[in-house]
């Protein structure tokens, strides 16, 4: 006959009392969700890599695309996205500190660190909106041929020219169009009058065209400024589609993370977890928040560095 201790064990097993992985239901479910989400994101990033290999000669080089930094003139490749990465890492750190304080039942510290995490999340989402804005209004402008290929304008020194420089000249014009729009007629007549201007593909080792071919290509094609789902002045339009989709999907995760963080923060303020006797909800939302940071680490590498 089984001992009473075994009997209790048996009842607990059937009653759902045992914890085979040393983890509670809520946390396990969060982990399973994160695992499936990780597979989703890796699918997106792999598809991105595939398309990038396919269109290598027209795929934009990220450091020529994201060159703005608030308050600074000229090209600042990678700086802004490095700052965004720093903000997200920082908010991940404040989240661990909140979870850590929760384990010690230190309500005041949890409140404080949760608040900082929410602030960090907001700044990140705002930064992403700023980057999208600059990506959408565009920078230098480009020529889209009749076959929908994107070509950039260069001068004899091999410098990339913006529409502003093409039309107003190197002295008067700006390296960025600053939101000024130009028509095909303006760009075409400026190009015709300057023999040294030619068109080139945007990617690594892209083909360059002669001046005559370039003028003919523009005559048959059109000018594009900025990026959207149909046109993309930076190069292959798939780049813009992937950029909007992947950073958008990640940004949506950050945004929902901020909302969930806020709900938990509000409950901390109300003392819900103090009454419950534990801060496990903070731990669960913390896992989600770290995952968002984790995904960004990969997006940062594959969109901006590689």
């Amino acid at each position: 006959m089984a001992s009473s201790a075994e009997m209790t064990q048996e009842e607990n097993n059937w009653g759902g009392g045992s914890r085979p992985l040393g983890s509670r239901y809520g946390k396990l479910m969060m982990w399973f969700f994160l695992l499936s989400d990780a597979l989703t994101f890796s699918g997106f990033l792999t598809a991105y890599g595939l398309m990038r290999f396919k269109f290598e000669s027209t795929w934009p080089i990220a450091e020529n695309v994201f060159t703005h930094f608030p308050g600074l003139e000229g090209d600042q490749p990678l700086l802004y996205v490095a700052l965004m990465t720093f903000i997200l890492i920082m908010s991940s750190v404040t989240m661990v500190l909140a979870v850590n304080a929760g384990e010690k039942m230190n309500r005041k510290a949890v409140t404080n660190w949760m608040l900082w995490t929410i602030v960090g999340g907001f700044i990140f989402v705002g930064s992403q909106a700023w980057e999208w804005y600059h990506f959408i209004i565009g920078d230098s402008g480009a020529v889209e041929t009749a076959r929908q290929e994107i070509l950039h304008i260069y001068n004899e020194e091999g410098e990339r020219l913006s529409f502003s420089q093409v039309i107003h000249g190197m002295e008067e014009g700006h390296a960025s169009n600053h939101g000024e729009t130009f028509t095909k007629t303006e760009v075409l007549s400026a190009m015709k009058s300057n023999e040294s201007m030619y068109l080139m593909e945007p990617g690594k080792a892209g083909t360059a065209f002669t001046h005559e071919t370039s003028v003919a290509l523009l005559e048959a094609g059109d000018v594009v400024q900025g990026a959207n789902m149909i046109h993309n002045e930076y190069g292959q339009k798939q780049f813009a589609n992937f950029f909007f989709f992947i950073t958008g999907f990640h940004g949506f995760h950050v945004f929902s993370g901020v909302v969930i963080n806020f709900i938990i923060f509000y409950n901390v303020l109300l003392g819900t977890y103090e009454r419950r006797g534990h801060y496990r909800m903070v731990e669960k939302v913390g896992l989600y928040w770290h995952f968002v940071d984790l995904v960004w680490v990969f997006v940062f590498t594959f969109f901006y560095l590689v």
């Binding site: 597979l39 890599g49 990678l78 720093f86 500190l97 984790l294 680490v297 590498t301 590689v306």
Partner: protein
């Protein structure tokens, strides 16, 4: 649960992540000539970026997400699907995707 006291271990990971990101950004801006040598279809620099990314990811998952201190069963439940499925998916997409190039 972790048996560490205080919060020094959190800040240690923070500094590691910050330094790695700083190195990545610096290399991304400078792009040293000798690191642009092509090996297995990409440059040494890109391989270094991917390795550094995986190091960062390991720190976030192991320490911040606490997996290092979980039971063996949970560790396997999380690591095996990720480490098998993701390289498999990547491999299939990139090799079978070569049909798109025709």
């Amino acid at each position: 649960m972790s048996d560490q006291n205080g919060t020094w271990w959190i800040w240690k990971v923070f500094w590691i992540l910050l330094v790695i990101t700083g190195v990545e950004v610096a290399l991304g801006i400078i792009k040293p000539e000798f690191m642009l040598t092509q090996v297995i279809g990409t440059s040494i620099l890109n391989i270094l970026f991917i390795v550094l990314t995986l190091v960062k990811a390991a720190y976030i998952v192991q320490i911040f997400m606490h997996v290092k201190f979980e039971k063996k069963g949970l560790k396997y439940a999380l690591y095996l699907p990720t480490l098998i499925l993701i390289p498999y998916l990547t491999f299939i997409l990139l090799t079978e995707g070569s049909y798109l190039f025709r």
